[in-house]
């Protein structure tokens, strides 16, 4: 040990891997430009330019069309009402989660999250079956003699509420997760101080807890609002066509003749940005630094004989309600000869067998696995690199990149898909010829925020000195990333990948819009097309939906096991 010569490391090898590393970063930015910034700007430009001339004439067309005005009003109402109802539903649930302790809590609170991963448009199939004129609900009510004639639940006047119910039951978990995380972050000692000062409980909630939890609430609320506003699948299946997403969907086919579509999509972008800014600036801009992290376990109350039944009723009731549409799908999928009875007379697994004999559904399953798998791989690479660049501040203004990557969270799928169609028609990426590249990229871009957030969470917990130590030994940044960083954030990466994969598997808007030929149909489009078919199509669609739900449920369970409490932080803007 007397020698003092530091051994030489292989310099050329290192330079090479650095080039690979930086090249990937550049590719990431290029990808975000071509498949996020460019399509959105193209829409914006085409909404104002006609043959190179600036024009405002599309917007009067938009506002003079009565049906479009109705659609805009309906969609805004869907967004507002869904957000309000989801808040009312999830606030008590979040308080129960944070403040109370009771037997079976883990299981019940876990079940609360299940609806999030159940695609609402699959649920819609079940709901339609249950609430049809001659559906189970009406038959049951007739049997009980509560009504004399079947109620038209899904008639034109009730479609709005059908969509709302499906959206609320699908989206409340996001609100619940955000509220729980925000409430849990409030240090219980600030409430204890208030208690010692004689402030009553309700006033503490209003004056202390709520202001501190507010930023987290609005971060979640804006996501719920935008998702409900721009969800395509649910209104499409319910048949509620006077909504913005369905109108955009219908306009895609003749987009070159009818430029009103641009104006409508532009309007969606403007609304998204406006509501986003509103929530950030006016309502949730202030973030309070918590002096000490909450250690809530000490402040949890045990439920007693009085509160326990209430809690069970509320949580159990919510879980039940939220799962009704999906239970209906499952019953439909295994029903045999279901006609004019409340429940099927016979049950069978034949439909699942048929699923695997029908070319359409087989193509759908196969394509979905391939597309979702590829997009997840892309997310994994991009997400890790972006998170790394942002967390380690490798570029000036990392906040800008962070903002850019988070846009897809609020960017409606229809907008992105629409943008792809108009930007890449008549190019080598034309979705008419082969939509696979665009589909994979669309899936990847839209789920990138989950991956970036997930990887960032891991990186932030990791001391930079672990990487610096590796650097001092002569390891390149790329080598360090591979050998030190990635192994230490593996759990976060897997969890993020599972989320990306499952959401890609059941993506609706990109799939319906971009996949135009049968051989490229993903599962969701296959479900939609089967559903529209006469005869046993609905049964096959249900069976395929059940298979999708099973895949999704398995993925999300894996993710939540790996991520634990951090799940709530993924669904924030």
């Amino acid at each position: 040990m007397q020698t003092q010569t530091a051994d030489e490391t292989s310099a050329s090898k290192r330079r090479f891997s650095d080039i690979v590393g930086y090249g990937t970063v550049i590719a990431t930015i290029a990808m975000l430009f071509f498949f996020l910034v460019l399509p959105v700007s193209t829409i914006m430009a085409r909404a104002f330019f006609n043959k190179g001339e600036f024009t405002f004439r599309y917007f009067p067309l938009l506002f003079s069309n009565e049906m479009l005005m109705h659609s805009i009003g309906n969609s805004l109402m869907i967004g507002v009402v869904t957000t309000l109802l989801a808040t009312l539903l999830s606030f008590p649930l979040a308080v129960i989660n944070v403040k109370w302790e009771f037997p079976g809590k883990g299981l019940l609170m876990g079940l609360l999250l299940v609806p999030m991963v159940m695609p609402p448009f699959v649920g819609a199939i079940g709901l339609l079956r249950f609430f049809a004129r001659r559906g189970s609900v009406n038959l049951a009510l007739l049997d009980l003699e509560w009504i004399d004639a079947p109620i038209d639940w899904l008639g034109p006047e009730n479609m709005f509420w059908a969509v709302i119910v499906l959206e609320v039951l699908h989206l409340y978990p996001i609100m619940y997760l955000n509220l729980s995380a925000s409430l849990a972050n409030v240090d219980p000692s600030v409430e204890e101080v208030a208690t010692t000062l004689g402030v009553p409980k309700w006033k503490q909630l209003k004056d202390i807890v709520w202001p501190l939890a507010r930023p987290g609430y609005f971060a979640g609320a804006i996501i719920v609002f935008i998702w409900a506003l721009t969800d395509l699948g649910t209104p499409l299946l319910v048949g509620y066509h006077e909504t913005i997403p369905v109108q955009i969907f219908n306009m895609i086919t003749d987009v070159n003749e009818n430029p009103v579509g641009y104006a409508l999509v532009f309007l969606v972008i403007v609304m998204t940005i406006a509501f986003f800014l509103l929530s950030k600036l006016a309502l949730g801009s202030k973030k309070y630094e918590m002096m000490a992290k909450g250690h809530v376990s000490s402040a949890r109350r045990r439920a007693n004989w009085f509160s326990l039944p209430l809690i069970y009723l509320l949580v159990g009731g919510t879980v039940f309600l939220a799962l009704v549409p999906h239970i209906a799908v499952i019953i439909t999928a295994v029903s045999n000869k279901w006609f004019m009875t409340i429940l099927p007379e016979q049950y069978t697994f034949d439909h699942f067998g048929q699923v695997f004999q029908t070319s359409l559904s087989l193509i759908g399953i196969k394509n979905s696995f391939i597309f979702a798998g590829l997009s997840t791989l892309l997310d994994l690479i991009l997400g890790l690199l972006i998170a790394y660049v942002i967390v380690r501040r490798l570029i000036p203004f990392p906040g800008l990149l962070d903002g850019l990557v988070m846009i897809p969270l609020a960017l409606p799928g229809i907008v992105l898909a629409f943008g792809y169609v108009v930007t890449y028609s008549d190019t080598f990426l034309d979705p008419l010829h082969n939509p696979v590249p665009l589909l994979v990229i669309a899936y990847a871009i839209r789920r990138l925020p989950y991956m970036v957030r997930s990887a960032s969470a891991g990186l932030q917990q990791m001391s930079p000195s672990l990487e610096e130590a590796s650097t001092t030994f002569g390891a390149s940044r790329f080598h360090t990333l591979r050998k030190i960083t990635v192994p230490l954030v593996t759990a976060n990466l897997i969890a993020g990948a599972l989320l990306c994969f499952s959401y890609a598997m059941l993506d609706v808007s990109d799939s319906l819009i971009l996949a135009m030929k049968e051989k490229f149909y993903p599962m969701t489009k296959a479900i939609y097309v089967l559903f529209l078919e006469q005869g046993s199509g609905e049964l096959l669609a249900s069976a395929l939906g059940v298979i999708g739900m099973a895949i999704l449920a398995a993925c999300i369970m894996g993710a939540s096991l790996l991520l634990g409490k951090k799940m709530g932080e993924l669904f924030r803007s």
Partner: protein, 364 residues
């Protein structure tokens, strides 16, 4: 390897973290960089490692300019304050990592790992993960990992700050022993003056981004160059004053507490210059018998007495309001009480005349 910092600056936007640093770390030395937190010592260390860019100035290894060389090419072994052990690798893998990046035969790698694990007495823990080790063992793994690559320079960033008092003493001896065995040029950063005094042969003191003094422990303690060092290394009483007269090494300073004669070898101050006077609490003698005379005699009022067994602390105050602290070892029985007036004396050679205490800058 000899390390030379030449006029090095480190700026973060408007703030200057390191200001005109000139320092030579001799080959094979165990050199200490001492200063309060935020003084720029860790920044200096990180510049040496290549983890921070030098804003201005040059850094030389054995005469070769390495200012622009990236961290990966410097051959540095670093022990981080939090050890930065890779939690997913065993002790063996942690040590092996740096070696695998080098063109070494597997036999050579094996031999080196065995050597460092032996020298750090970790051989029995090779298969453990860092989480299964105690704080002291983790510290030794960090040290072994840094030593395995036979670094040009070993950097220790507050290596003992996360250990309890007992382990700290043990690790001090370990580090001294390993340094002696390996002879690797080592820079040791700490804010603990006792650590530096007890282990160091050369200590550089930094304050507010400036390197103020580099000396051996005794010289630092006895002849601090600024009031800051006098107060940072050991305790002292600082009184602001003015030079009244001087005659060769003898210097007379007028202060609100009184007139002090000093024998001064370190720095020259002209008559009329503003200065500060530093007197160590243990250097001040107390006039137990109330003789009322002696060199540098001054009278103070007793504010508070603290009896500590082997010593007694006197907190005193001059008529002008200056607080003076005196530590007396083996104090005799006495009947001074709070409020009494007490006579104090100090030998001229124990009175240090230093630059005046100003705001932070090169003179502080």
């Amino acid at each position: 390897m000899e390390v030379v910092f030449k006029s090095i600056y480190k700026r973060y936007g408007q703030t200057t973290a390191v200001h005109d640093l000139n320092l030579t770390i001799e080959k094979g030395a165990l050199h200490f960089l001492l200063g309060p937190s935020g003084c720029g010592k860790t920044t200096t260390l990180r510049m040496l490692a290549g983890l921070e860019q030098v804003t201005e100035g040059q850094l030389f290894f054995n005469g070769a300019d390495v200012t622009k060389k990236p961290a990966v090419d410097r051959g540095i072994g670093m022990v981080f304050q939090n050890y930065a052990l890779w939690p997913h690798m065993t002790v063996y893998k942690n040590v092996e990592y740096g070696l695998k990046l080098r063109k070494l035969t597997s036999a050579e790698i094996k031999k080196r790992i065995d050597d460092v694990l032996d020298i750090t007495r970790l051989t029995q823990y090779v298969d453990r993960l860092p989480g299964q080790l105690s704080g002291g063992q983790q510290q030794r793994v960090a040290l072994a990992r840094a030593l395995a690559i036979r670094p040009n320079v070993l950097l220790l960033d507050e290596p003992l700050s996360n250990l309890d008092a007992k382990l700290r003493g043990e690790m001090r001896d370990n580090i001294l022993r390993i340094h002696k065995q390996t002879g690797i040029t080592t820079l040791y950063v700490t804010h603990d003056q006792r650590e530096a005094l007890s282990m160091g042969t050369r200590i550089s003191v930094m304050h507010a981004g400036h390197l103020i003094q580099t000396d051996n422990p005794r010289t630092l303690y006895n002849f601090p160059r600024t009031p800051f060092i006098a107060g940072f290394i050991g305790e002292t009483n600082l009184i602001q004053g003015k030079v009244l007269a001087r005659d060769g090494e003898a210097i007379t300073v007028e202060t609100p507490v009184g007139r002090f004669h000093a024998l001064h070898k370190v720095e020259q101050f002209p008559v009329g210059a503003a200065v500060s006077v530093s007197m160590r609490p243990e250097a001040i003698a107390i006039d137990w018998d109330k003789k009322g005379q002696g060199s540098n005699y001054f009278q103070l009022k007793v504010e508070h007495l603290t009896y500590l067994g082997e010593s007694e602390q006197f907190q005193l105050r001059s008529p002008s309001g200056q607080a003076i602290k005196v530590n007396f070892y083996h104090a005799p029985e006495h009947n001074f009480r709070e409020g009494d007036t007490i006579g104090c004396m100090i030998a001229p050679e124990d009175v240090l005349v230093l630059p005046p205490q100003t705001e932070i800058g090169p003179g502080t």
